[in-house]
């Protein structure tokens, strides 16, 4: 019966880790989205370099999370977020007008990762 208890413990641990992972990804993407939102507010108030600095910091946070993200999330989704970060940062640093859609795209990609990990009836079926 020892084997069965170990299996039951392992399956419970995997479930707990899965729930933890869902919350962790949600919190992480929420924090990153908040960064982008504050960068957008700064940009709209005319502080382009301040916005670029926030996006750069946020991107560093994202890249620091890269290994975890690649292990736990679909690689194509992770790459889309990374690309959106680089695109937005490059637009901000170029000094040209940054379209609202550039901020929206990054926020959408982060939201998509968070949604993907959420346990809902829809995601299960």
């Amino acid at each position: 019966m020892k084997r069965e208890y170990i299996a039951a413990a392992l399956i419970t641990a995997i479930f707990v880790i899965s729930v933890f992972n869902t919350h962790y990804v949600e919190n992480k993407t929420r924090a990153l989205t908040e960064d982008i939102e504050s960068a957008e507010q700064l940009y709209n108030s005319g502080d382009g370099s301040g916005a670029a600095s926030i996006v750069e910091d946020s991107m560093q946070k994202w890249l620091g999370w890269d290994s975890y993200a690649h292990i736990m999330l679909r690689h194509s989704e992770v790459d889309l977020v990374t690309d959106a970060y680089f695109e937005l940062l490059s637009d901000l640093q170029s000094g040209e007008t940054v379209p609202k859609a550039a901020f929206g795209k990054l926020k959408e990609q982060l939201h998509s990762i968070s949604i993907m990990e959420k346990i809902t009836i829809g995601s299960i079926f």
């Binding site: 019966m1 084997r3 069965e4 170990i6 299996a7 039951a8 392992l10 399956i11 995997i14 690649h70 292990i71 736990m72 999330l73 679909r74 690689h75 194509s76």
Partner: protein
Amino acid sequence: MILGIVFIRTMIIYLSLLVAMRLMGKRQLGELELSELVITVLISDIAAHPLQDIGIPLMNGVLPIIILLCCELIISGVIVKSSRIKALLCGKPSFLIIDGVINQKEMQKNRFTPDELAEELRSQSVLDISKVKYAILETDGKLNVVLFPPERPLTAGQMQIAEDDTGFPVIVINNGHIIRENLSICGKNEEWLQKELTARKVKSAKDVYLMSVNGTGQIYFAKSEEKNET
């Protein structure tokens, strides 16, 4: 770089599968119960996806294997403890033939056609259904056939012939390698082995393909052809 990733991922999945199948036990390699078949089919399919697409996290392959392995271990443990749950998950053996008469209701229930039954019986050298006392379809899908007593093969016991019990043959040299554990099991030592090899004009165990000893001390000996040719 991609080739390296594919290599490492394949190795990880292969080893995970190997460990999973090993932990599931030898039954998985032979006749499968329903739950075991489901898990075997699922595992092989799940394992293939992260191997084909390196964009899928390896976790998506490894985690389901671990979860299925745990489910299988729990279910097989519960089945051993409870015959009710075993009947629920694996079903019950079905008697397809009783006293030489086909049980058509059971045949229909098990989606077994008369020609399939005849084929199964033929594979067991049974050509006449009326000679079958019982034909039992086991839960692993195997058909066991019990003949009427007059049709059963005669045994030495029935003939009252005294047959010597030669015991189980133990392999002591396997392809040139001495199996010391087996030598001690049959109560022999290397000194005895060397003496037997010398008696067969063989210098060392390396020149022997197979040597076994049974309970009565009878030896089966096969010289290595490879060594003889060179």
